[in-house]
Amino acid sequence: MLLLRRLFVTLVLLAVVGFAGFYVLTDPRVVSPSPEIGALPAADVENGKLLFSAGGCTSCHATPGQDDKWRLGGGLALESPFGTFHAPNISPHTRDGIGNWGVQDFVDAMAAGVSPSGQHLYPSFPYTSYRLMPPKALADLFAYIRTLPPVEGKAAPHDLRFPFNIRRVVGGWKLLFFERAPFRPDPAKSEAWNRGAYLVNGPGHCAECHSARNALGAIVPSTRFAGGPDPEGKGWVPNITQSEKGLAKWSKEEIAELLKTGFTPSFDNVGGSMAAVVRNIAQLPEADRMAMAEYLKSLPAIEGPERPQAKAP
């Protein structure tokens, strides 16, 4: 009897300690502390505009069903195995958008995945990539977004299955999969390579679609850039490593051309959401597209997941 009671007490204690541990470790401030932004020079709105194009912010945040890509009212639905995410209003509207945010709020969201009220943001918003952008770049981007028209109206809240509807769960996800560190240039590589690596991995967030994901929705590192099933539904996202299935036979100029016009070397033209990506990346200077190509040409060949065989016609 005494033994059983001791066992029971031990189990309860363990559960309490475990829960307390989870509670502390998944606290947004513990798992993803606020980045130090320090003193920043005056914002460079032009650079912010470039980063806005590089990130393709409008692709998810522009109000669907209207042509003005600079009206960032949100509302686009993103289906996922965890439920439906709705891109929020990020226009500078003071009540419904991010008009009341300060630079630190924006940096916290982009680089740490934390909202101004101190809650975790879901990684459907790819801060896993944006965290590579230094505070100066994020401040420039924020300054540019503030020049856009305020849009009234909040987007619908996310519609997620239990337990994913509990934001604290994201803290556990961050413990497993999120590293909060800005981009560090590789001094052994050229300036163009470093610029490309930054654009591709950071604002461009290319790996977010061009990689396979695990059951918890995190990128499988061994498949980074090697393509996989389209996370947005039907189809297959191509391999963009130097695999024969990927860009092995493409020249840098051909990669830069695709990023500008959408044309492949065989004069096919890319479809689906890549069309919008091309429209945005086309706004960048040619040197930036060539830098992205330079970096992509340096990626080791990864075979990636096997494509399902097409049915015979």
């Binding site: 389209d230 096919d268 033209n269 479809g271 689906g272 959401s273 890549m274 015979a312």
Partner: protein, 143 residues
């Protein structure tokens, strides 16, 4: 006698149409390959990699216009899947928009039917090839 001939001719026409429809996926892929090949020629001239040739330039737009007329007929309900198709379900959900996209492509292609100089060609070629991305964005899945 005349009536029999007419009926036979009608049957013949119908049969030809059916045969063209027998493998619409392969046929639309062929059509798009031809568009790609024309674009390769056009891009070479637009960039100055090849000398401008009015006959070749007009042929590019002829290929586009023919494809724009033919393509909307190559998506019967029976051809939603199979044969490595990258057709998006939206084609069948939004037939009106899909057909309108090809009507616009045809109009833009017709504008280049009589191009006679490089500048005119570049303008018309740029306008016509803008259709590739906009249409693929809505009506084609990634591959």
């Amino acid at each position: 006698m005349i009536r029999t001939a007419l009926v036979l001719a009608g049957l013949g026409l119908g049969l030809t149409a059916v045969m063209a429809q027998s493998n619409p996926i392969a046929e639309r892929q062929q059509t798009m390959k031809a568009v790609g090949a024309a674009t390769r020629e056009g891009a070479a001239m637009a960039k100055g990699d090849a000398a401008f040739d009015a006959t070749k330039a007009q042929a590019v737009f002829k290929t586009y216009a023919d494809a724009a007329k033919k393509m909307p007929t190559l998506f019967p309900d029976s051809s939603k899947t199979g044969g490595e198709t990258t057709a998006a379900p939206k084609i069948w959900e939004d037939q009106a928009g899909f057909k309108a996209a090809f009507a616009k492509f045809e109009t833009d292609a017709s504008a280049g039917a009589t191009v006679a100089n490089l500048d005119g060609f570049r303008t018309a070629f740029g306008a016509a090839t803008k259709n590739c991305g906009t249409c693929h964005e809505a009506y084609r899945i990634k591959k």
